[in-house]
């Protein structure tokens, strides 16, 4: 499709290709060899069109469609002329599978070139023969690594593992591909020989005991990484194993049936929903034009500020990083360079990129005489200083004095209303330029960014924050200016419930285990330790005193504040709920904590079931998220889902809270909540929106 920016495989494309093949190629005996390449600058084929998959209601209908496509590949091969794939840019999913059907693969050494089978990330498997052709080409271990992680392979690695036959410069891709195709046809170029496996790999891949060992190892890894919550990796393993045992054509049948089976799973639907949602959220609903941003100033070089500066510089913005003194800025700079050096070591970044990234960041302190001159060129200022209203307003004043009028001022706060920070007055003259940008720590790793306009924020300022956030690689959720915004607001009731559960005497590791089983990346107790007990205590107390009312009730927040007083601040102080001793030692619960908990629970113990733990915590979360939707704090369920999956790691295979409600049924969920409301208190009382959805049977998502 010449109108689209990137090539994707679709049902329509497949038919077009078939027609073309029959008309021009099939019976043309002058054609001695074939080169497949892209006429688009964006590159080869970015994958199969997932809308095609979503649009098929009965997923079993996918089987004949895939069969047709596969037969087409077989049909092409049957012409028995050499086929060469000339790859520049992404060859992903179906795109790579197409290349795998070819006799020879050439890719460019460009940074844009990447090869991979990311289907697993959408809860699917490579259905166009990928699970069969890939292991045959690169060996079982390499293929499993690619298919189970969905990771991209870069050109040098691709050549090394035998995924491509040749790596060339983009400038010579076409000519080399044509020459090679001719050479293959007339015999001057030979197909690459299969890589000779090392003895150890032969032992592993080609002997029954070796294979057994390998498969058990693979399964073990998958178990560990998925907690058994994702069916796709298991299906992929099954397809590869089946293929090894069945050399005939039925292995492809087995593969496409597996594909259809996976496509019908809730998990795949949820993952595709998230993928879709992320794509949707790249656009801002207002449609206002952002101002052109070249230089971004970050005030405060702490963990947050330095993280923001890092992701900003990585994307090519000039960054001014300012703090009070050289030492503070120096620490921020070190934080960034350390991160970049780690990337360098892992070959994720070249030394040159490291240098240019760091040279884009200008460290400034109050003692740098030229700081005002620097700020005169800033288009966006992101402030990440202490949570102190007066300080933040003072900074706006300082910045407004030295920046151009168009400069947008973003404040990174989690606990102060943006409206208060932006209130026009002595310090703040350009209130319309003020907007909230709430990052999550650690900034380089956390994919979410909440953008919070206050009532007076101009559309341009909002659009600017959104555009920069997007370019920083963050998924941006626009949320209303309420205490906790969206993510932390939903986290509050969870924290409250956790304290309630602990008070009842539920053991800590049991709590963690239950929620991990539900699909959270870490349990709530570990989460608190990780973000810091002080932070958790501050957030929960702040929200308890805010406008959530009974929805923050039911717990005993002194659990956390007492710990802060004791100096048990979590992982950072080596002592939170768990004791973190040494590098190797697993976190354990020490006698002091046990004693403290005994005191806190008055000696109560509880053997609450895992389901009950999960339900109670999730109910509080779901209720708050629904309340946010009801109050229009978030725009729609898609925002709500993405916010919680990316913000607190809500089980991705469940697709987010609203998709979770859709899948379990809102009405039964409301019934369950009502039950808790009766026994545990009104904090479980479902909000109106949930009751309405339960009554009408309406779904939050259409598909």
């Amino acid at each position: 499709n010449p109108d689209k920016k990137v090539n994707t495989l679709s049902f329509a494309l497949m038919r077009e290709a078939q027609t073309m093949w029959e008309a021009d190629i099939q019976s043309n005996s002058d054609i001695k060899s074939i080169v497949f390449t892209s006429a688009k600058e964006s590159g080869f084929i970015a994958g199969a069109d997932i809308f095609d998959i979503s649009s098929v209601q009965d997923k079993s209908e996918l089987v004949p469609v895939i069969e047709e496509a596969l037969n087409f590949f077989l049909h092409m091969k049957a012409k028995d002329v050499p086929m060469v794939a000339a790859i520049h840019g992404p060859a992903l999913g179906g795109g790579l599978e197409w290349a795998l059907w070819c006799d020879y693969r050439i890719c460019t050494d460009s940074k844009a070139t990447k090869l991979g089978l990311p289907e697993v990330k959408l809860g699917l498997l490579p259905g166009f023969g990928g699970t069969q052709n890939l292991p045959a080409l690169v060996g079982i271990q390499g293929a499993m690594d690619m298919m189970l992680t969905g990771k991209n392979i870069l050109p040098a690695k691709a050549k090394k593992m035998g995924l491509v036959d040749l790596v060339v410069a983009p400038q010579s891709l076409e000519s080399v591909a044509i020459e090679t195709a001719e050479g293959l046809a007339n015999g001057t170029v030979k197909k690459s020989k299969a890589k000779t496996k090392s003895l150890i790999n032969r032992l592993i891949e080609d002997t029954p005991p070796g294979q057994n060992l390998m498969w058990s190892k693979v399964k073990e890894t998958v178990d560990k990484n998925t907690d058994g919550n994702y069916p796709a990796p298991y299906e992929i393993i099954d397809c590869v194993k089946y293929g090894l045992a069945h050399p005939g054509m039925e292995k492809f049948k087995h593969e496409r049936e597996g594909f259809a089976k996976l496509a019908a799973t809730k998990e795949s639907e949820a993952l595709i929903g998230l993928f879709d949602g992320t794509t949707q959220m790249k656009k801002l609903s207002s449609g206002a034009e952002p101002i052109k941003v070249k230089k971004v100033a970050v005030m405060g070089a702490g963990l947050m500020g330095a993280g923001i500066a890092q992701v900003t510089a990585e994307k090519g913005y000039d960054v001014l990083l300012k703090d009070r003194d050289d030492a503070a800025v120096g620490r921020g700079i070190s934080y960034m360079t350390d991160n970049w050096e780690k990337k360098c070591k892992r070959k994720r970044m070249t030394n040159y990129e490291l240098n240019t990234n760091s040279s884009r960041v200008t460290p400034l302190s109050d003692h740098t005489e030229s700081w005002k001159r620097h700020f005169a060129g800033a288009d966006l200022v992101i402030e990440a200083v202490f949570e102190d209203l007066a300080l933040k307003r003072k900074i706006i004043q300082q910045v407004e004095e030295v920046t151009p009028d168009h400069c947008v001022f973003a404040t990174n706060t989690s606990a102060i209303p943006i409206a208060d920070i932006a209130a026009p007055g002595e310090e703040v003259k350009r209130s319309e330029n003020v907007v909230g940008m709430h990052y999550f720590s650690p900034v380089p790793q956390m994919p979410l960014l909440e953008i919070i306009p206050h009532a007076g924020t101009s559309d341009e300022a909002l659009a600017t924050a959104f555009a920069v956030g997007n370019k920083q690689g963050k998924t941006c959720v626009v949320v209303k200016d309420v205490p906790g915004f969206y993510v932390n607001r939903c986290l509050g009731p969870i924290l409250s419930e956790v304290t309630a559960l602990v008070k009842e005497g539920v053991p800590l590791d049991r709590l963690d285990k239950a929620m991990k089983k539900f699909g959270m990346p870490v349990g709530p107790i570990t989460l608190i330790d990780n973000v810091g007990v002080d932070v958790a205590s501050k957030v929960s107390n702040y929200l308890a005193s805010a406008d959530l009312g009974v929805r923050m009730g039911g717990g005993d927040l002194s659990l956390l504040s007492n710990m802060v007083e004791k100096g048990w601040l979590g992982k950072k102080s080596n002592q939170g709920f768990f004791t973190y001793s040494g590098k190797k030692g697993k976190p354990s619960i020490g006698p002091e904590v046990t004693a403290y908990l005994k005191d806190f629970t008055d000696g109560n113990t509880s053997d609450l079931s895992e389901t009950d733990i999960q339900n109670r915590i999730v109910a509080r979360l779901v209720n708050e998220a629904a309340m946010c939707l009801q109050d229009e704090i978030i725009e729609n369920p898609v925002c709500g889902d993405i916010g919680l999956v990316f913000g607190i790691g809500f089980a991705p295979f469940r697709g987010g809270v609203f998709r979770y409600l859709d899948s379990v049924g809102t009405s039964s969920f409301v019934d369950m909540m009502n039950g808790y409301a009766e026994t545990k208190g009104e904090q479980f009382e479902p909000v109106q929106l949930l009751k309405d959805y339960a009554a009408s049977g309406k779904k939050f998502h259409d598909n």
Partner: protein, 518 residues
């Protein structure tokens, strides 16, 4: 010679007969007079038959003089009268070169804080630090220079690699200069020459050295073997290659060549040359040690006073220069044994500059451009000299010769006109020998026609510490001298600064700066 007719003939840049006729009068002063005369007797001259020749030569010399000499009205009239006149009457605005700012990375003893860095990284950080300090737009830079001495093979044009990695636009040209310890002085002078000739108006001139990563090489014989190895491999396969490698190889070939701080031609180590020089000029061990302690305590004080704040780019948050021993005493220093000439030599590890890693950078612009971009320059660069002397006899005496040249050419008096001295301290003995030479009538009689360079007022010399204390990264010292002198001109409200430095090969450097009145 005062006859304009004859003088004008001299304008053809063939000075020898005139020079001989008035040996005591330096050539450039002569040009100054020519111009002066030219203006007054214009009609008279134009009637001369060699008219064309005259005009072209006098215009070019007037430009040169205007560029080199003080032009601002605030300059003391006695020294600037001719150039000012020249400018006014010519109606041709001369390009003044200014130093806008300068920075350095903290200089550090080698194999300490920069142990893991390449020289190119240090230079990059210095360039970057200069941009940070000045808020200069990288796009505004026309050219980038760097001076360095011991080169890392991969970055032989270190200026370019440092510039690219510091994120300067790829379109900016860059080259590297090397002139031993005055390499960045050359970079700065080259920058000035580019600006005067109209090829650039904003130039970054830096310098860098690291001794933490000196190229240690295999023996020459072994190198030859390895270089021709692939040929042998092609011819005789692996066995042939091994045979080729072993053939004629001696035990002594299995050794390494470590670079020494020695002159190639004379084979003499710098410290030995300086020790000899001190003996020649009668500089005692005690004087050297006292001077060393002075340097350290002054550097220590400058750091403590915050003099270097802003100038030193923090490295990992710190601006400490770890070679400065602010508390050293003559008593302690005098206990050290001679390091070069044993046992009677006077040069020790203390009164010689130590191996230093570091980088520096100066921002050089035309006055016009600096003002257009809203900068407040520190000083003008008025003139410079790179004379050389005999490396066998007086390897490190360049500062004396160059100072003499640059002062007399501009008709400046060292004692009455120069308010700031920044003279490179390679060795205490070397700088003190130069000071003696400058003030020696015998030396002046032998070399300068009897006119002494003058006596340097110690209270104006290296008052913020010198290379002995701060350290001496060969390629970077020149830039440090300019920055310190320029800042001192402003802070001490002096008019002229004299910079002087010695270098391997008998090379020398001197430079005149004039305060910029903002």
């Amino acid at each position: 010679c005062s006859d304009p007719k004859i003088a004008s003939l001299d304008g053809s840049l063939t000075p020898s007969p005139i020079y001989r006729c008035k040996a005591a009068l330096p050539h450039s002063t002569l040009i100054g007079i020519i111009i002066h005369r030219y203006q007054r007797t214009q009609h008279h001259i134009i009637m001369l038959s060699s008219r064309l020749l005259l005009r072209s030569s006098s215009v070019s010399s007037s430009r040169r003089a205007a560029a080199l000499l003080p032009s601002s009205s605030s300059s003391s009239a006695q020294h600037s009268s001719f150039s000012t006149t020249a400018q006014k009457n010519n109606g041709n605005k001369a390009t003044n070169v200014v130093v806008v700012d300068g920075v350095r990375l903290p200089f550090a003893m080698s194999s300490t804080i920069y142990e893991d860095q390449l020289a190119v990284d240090l230079q990059r950080l210095a360039y970057q630090g200069l941009v940070t300090k000045t808020a200069l737009n990288k796009e505004d830079v026309d050219y980038i220079l760097s001076g360095t001495v011991i080169q890392e093979v991969r970055t032989s044009n270190i200026a370019r690699e440092a510039a690219i990695n510091a994120g300067f636009p790829a379109s900016i040209g860059a080259h590297t200069v090397s002139m031993a310890c005055i390499s960045s002085s050359v970079a700065i002078s080259s920058a000035a020459e580019k600006i005067i000739s109209g090829k650039a108006s904003v130039v970054l001139a830096g310098g860098v050295e690291t001794f933490s990563d000196t190229p240690i090489r295999l023996s020459r014989h072994l190198r030859q073997k390895l270089i021709t190895m692939s040929k042998a491999m092609k011819k005789g396969g692996p066995i042939g290659a091994v045979r080729h490698l072993l053939k004629g190889l001696k035990m002594k070939d299995i050794s390494l060549e470590v670079p020494a701080i020695a002159n190639y031609t004379t084979g003499e180590v710098m410290g030995v040359s300086s020790d000899k020089l001190s003996a020649k000029f009668g500089v005692s061990r005690l004087e050297q040690d006292e001077f060393t302690v002075r340097s350290h305590s002054m550097a220590g004080k400058a750091h403590a006073d915050g003099w270097y704040d802003g100038e030193i780019v923090p490295y990992k948050g710190s601006t400490e220069e770890n070679g400065i021993k602010a508390t050293s005493t003559v008593e302690k220093v005098s206990k050290l044994k001679p390091a070069f000439v044993k046992p009677h030599g006077t040069h020790t590890a203390a009164n010689s500059s130590y191996l230093t890693d570091g980088a520096a950078a100066s921002l050089i612009m035309s006055e016009e451009k600096a003002l257009e971009l809203g900068f407040k320059p520190l000083c003008y660069i008025r003139d410079w000299s790179f004379k050389a002397c005999d490396p066998f006899d007086e390897l490190l005496l360049g500062p004396t010769y160059c100072s003499q040249e640059v002062l007399s050419r501009n008709n400046l008096n060292l004692e009455s006109d120069i308010g700031v001295f920044e003279i490179h301290e390679a060795f205490a003995g070397q700088i003190l020998s130069n000071l003696v030479a400058m003030n020696s009538q015998a030396f002046a009689d032998a070399n300068f026609g009897g006119k002494k360079v003058g006596e340097v007022d110690m209270s104006k010399l290296n008052t913020k510490g010198g290379s002995l204390a701060v350290g001496h990264p060969f390629g970077a010292t020149g830039s440090r001298l300019v920055t310190t002198a320029a800042k001192r001109l402003q802070a001490e409200n002096e008019r002229f600064a004299l910079i002087a430095a010695c270098a391997d090969g008998g090379l020398g450097h001197a430079c005149i700066l004039e305060r910029y009145d903002n």
